[in-house]
């Protein structure tokens, strides 16, 4: 992912300097965004080909995601992502393989070992919190992680992200309030794509910006154009600095677009017009960031082609790997309900637990397995 280009990115262009980064950083972000898009597109291809049953994707969100994750320290800070966070996860240490083994729900999927639906990323090696489906619950986990960081004085920052629809859940209110009171090193990123499945933002909120809520908690609320990668980066960098300095949480709202249907189960043409869908492409962060890097001389045509080829190879390899990896085994399915095994949690050896009338059946545990 962060592999340096031979001879490229070593310098510091004016563009990089303007945000205090190196060209390597900018190219790294670009590679994350490009990989996220490519893996996402691959998911839809696999879905249409009947290889994977479900897709939920981050197309249109990748610029904001890569940029906002960038100032956080990998394997030190924490992120509680959401189901569109492919670029966030890639920026924070996950690989295309990790995304694809989750799509295929294979035993080796580092997020859940094939137990969760695709999109429920998270793994301990990268301090990426395991995600559930009920939206916004991860808000409080990230706040708690930040609380532990403060109490343990680790210097860590915890970030979470979610959609604007999800930000209306009660947990968000409770979490922002607590984080603000205790000046926790916490960042809430709202990726506002204008829809909660089919419900437009006008039916979700009575205000133009979710960020308007920040002042009600006494914390800064920042609105950024999610297609403007470096502006997103700047906002995140400032928030991380504030958090690290003990100045408390920040709410960053990135206005992004949802380039796809909500998921592979959704028909968005029922509630979005053709014109609206067409206009979206203008706010696509990928071509815009590409052009920005080209204009700044950071990304040459040759380099772009090299990255594109590498990304494709990476994803081809990851697809092949995931496709051929082993399914999880039912013999493991009772594991990790608790840290230890509890035999009493198994159903009875069918045939009634060895009643005196049933002596012969006692201990017939193979039958029990079949029975559930």
């Amino acid at each position: 992912m962060a592999k340096a280009e031979p001879g490229a990115g070593a310098g510091v262009s004016d563009l990089a300097a303007s945000v205090g980064l190196t060209d390597e950083d900018l190219l790294g972000m670009y590679r994350v965004i490009a990989t996220a898009r490519a893996v996402d597109e691959r998911m839809w291809v696999l879905n249409r080909a009947g290889r994977i049953p479900f897709v939920i994707s981050g197309q249109g969100h990748e610029g904001a995601q890569a940029a906002i994750a960038w100032p956080l320290k990998r394997q030190f800070d924490w992120i509680a992502p959401f189901y569109r966070s492919i670029a966030t996860c890639l920026a924070f240490g996950m690989q295309a393989r990790d995304i694809l083994t989750a799509q295929y729900a294979k035993a080796i999927d580092p997020s859940s070992g094939g137990r969760q639906m695709p999109g429920h990323y998270g793994n301990v090696a990268n301090n990426l919190v395991s995600l559930s489906s009920p939206v916004a619950t991860q808000m409080l986990h990230a706040v708690g992680i930040a609380l532990a960081a403060k109490i343990r004085k680790t210097g860590q920052v915890a970030m979470t992200s979610m959609g604007e629809g999800s930000s209306n859940q009660g947990d968000v209110h409770e979490g922002l309030n607590f984080a603000a009171i205790h000046k926790l090193p916490f960042i809430l990123v709202v990726e506002n794509n204008g829809y909660a499945i089919s419900v437009p933002v006008s039916k979700q909120l009575a205000v133009a910006d979710v960020a308007a809520r920040a002042s009600g908690y006494g914390i800064p609320g920042v609105v950024v154009d999610g297609a403007d990668v470096l502006t997103c980066y700047r906002a995140a960098r400032d928030a991380v600095e504030r958090a690290r300095a003990g100045e408390g949480p920040t709410l960053i709202e990135a206005k992004v677009i949802r380039l796809t249907a909500h998921s592979s189960d959704d028909q968005q043409t029922k509630y979005r017009s053709e014109e609206e869908l067409k206009a979206l492409r203008e706010s696509d962060p990928l071509p815009r960031f590409r052009a920005e890097l080209q204009d700044a001389g950071v990304l040459t045509e040759e380099l772009e082609a090299t990255i594109a080829a590498e990304v494709k190879a990476d994803i081809d390899e990851a697809t092949e790997y995931a496709e051929t990896a082993a399914d999880p085994s039912p013999s493991e399915a009772m594991k990790w309900v608790y840290a230890e095994d509890w035999p009493s949690e198994e159903p009875p050896a069918w045939g009634f637990g060895g009643g005196h009338g049933m002596a012969g059946h006692e201990g017939d545990t193979s039958a029990a397995k079949d029975a559930v």
């Binding site: 049953p53 479900f54 729900a105 294979k106 859940s112 094939g114 137990r115 969760q116 639906m117 429920h120 559930s132 489906s133 009920p134 939206v135 629809g165 999800s166 209306n168 859940q169 009660g170 947990d171 909660a196 499945i197 089919s198 419900v199 039916k203 979700q204 909120l205 189960d265 959704d266 029922k270 509630y271 399914d327 999880p328 085994s329 039912p330 399915a333 009772m334 309900v337 949690e345 198994e346 159903p347 069918w350 045939g351 009634f352 009643g355 009338g357 049933m358 039958a367 079949d370 029975a371 559930v372």
Partner: protein
């Protein structure tokens, strides 16, 4: 009579009740223009407008809490929780508020509200799109819990639920939405709450089930019938208030009982059925009251191999019947 899918029966009943009684409103996430993620409310927005078909923000506690309030001020809200798995943020409003309003106000206030939610596994929905949540709510006095298994019952029970003066949780097995068809009369018939149905009469073993499992129980009954085992299948239809009479009469007749549910075994809904039978039909029992239920893991896993491992199916039920018959 017309042949309808399970979800058609629900959708059309909603429309009929809204036509019949203008105090009936529908609210929930994506129930409007989109018509619900399963299309259970498709067409209602066009017919009844945005005042009566409300796309709420993504806030389950609000959906239920505001329905409670609206029910107290003259409406009959039918709230949709997009997946039963997402009802938990509304748990406090359901258990502390809806269930207790009448009792705590000594019959001052009632909450004529219906909360519909698709539940159940076997649809590749993983931990959070497969749950059976009926046990949580069937434990709560003041709530009614309905789980139909046929289009006919879905229509008749949904109508009764909407017209009921108390809060009803109406759970629809999502795997049945399009896979189950059945005859549904055109007229506005009702199926009363609190009545189980014997869907397959038999003499040797009573199998008690509901929802998708009521179908699987019938399939299993057919399979073992060929082997000479006569099974009586009881489809509970309403889980609370429970039709104890039908359950006890059947078990007192057959002397053996298998309770089937898809939810986790430990303290799942079937535990109450087993307890009632063990206490109130003890002298009639010729074998232990047994259960076939989901394993005790925190949700249906996603990978199809694991999902198959989790789900109760006709074969597992037939196996349970055979063993009980041999007892």
């Amino acid at each position: 009579m017309a042949l309808k899918t399970f979800i058609e029966a629900i959708r059309e009943t909603l429309a009929e009740e809204m036509r019949r009684d203008e105090s009936v409103i529908v609210l929930g996430e994506d129930v409007g223009l989109k018509g619900g993620v399963f299309l259970a409310t498709d067409g209602l927005y066009a017919e009844f407008g945005e005042d009566r078909v409300i796309d709420t923000p993504l806030t389950e506690s609000l959906i239920v809490g505001a329905s409670i309030g609206a029910a107290m001020n003259g409406l009959r809200p039918v709230a949709e929780i997009q997946f039963a798995d997402f009802i938990h943020p509304a748990f406090n409003q359901l258990v502390s508020e809806a269930a207790r309003m009448r009792y705590r106000s000594n019959n001052g206030f009632g909450v004529p509200m219906t909360v519909r939610a698709p539940y159940g596994g076997g649809v590749h929905g993983a931990l959070y799109h497969s749950q059976s949540v009926e046990a949580f709510f069937a434990h709560v006095p003041g709530l009614k819990v309905v789980i139909p298994s046929t289009p006919y019952d879905a229509a008749g029970l949904l109508r009764s639920s909407i017209r009921d003066d108390d809060p009803v949780l109406f759970f629809e097995h999502k795997k049945m939405y399009r896979s189950v068809r059945g005859d549904v009369p055109a007229a506005g018939f009702t199926v009363p709450l609190g009545q189980a149905a014997i869907t397959h009469p038999g003499t040797q073993i009573t199998v008690i089930a509901y929802g998708l499992m009521a179908h699987y129980a019938l399939e299993a009954a057919d399979v073992v019938a060929e082997e000479g085992i006569s099974v009586e299948v009881v489809d509970l239809r309403t889980l609370r208030p429970l039709d104890k009479d039908t359950v006890l009469s059947s078990v007192r007749k057959t002397g053996k009982c298998l309770v089937v549910y898809e939810d986790n075994r430990f303290l799942g809904y079937g535990a109450e059925i087993c307890s009632i039978i063990a206490e109130e039909a003890f002298d009639y029992l010729d074998g232990p009251v047994t259960r076939i239920a989901g394993p005790d893991v925190p949700g249906v896993p996603y990978n199809h191999v694991l999902e198959d491992w989790f789900m109760v199916n006709p074969e597992k039920i037939a196996d349970g019947i055979r063993k009980l018959a041999a007892y």
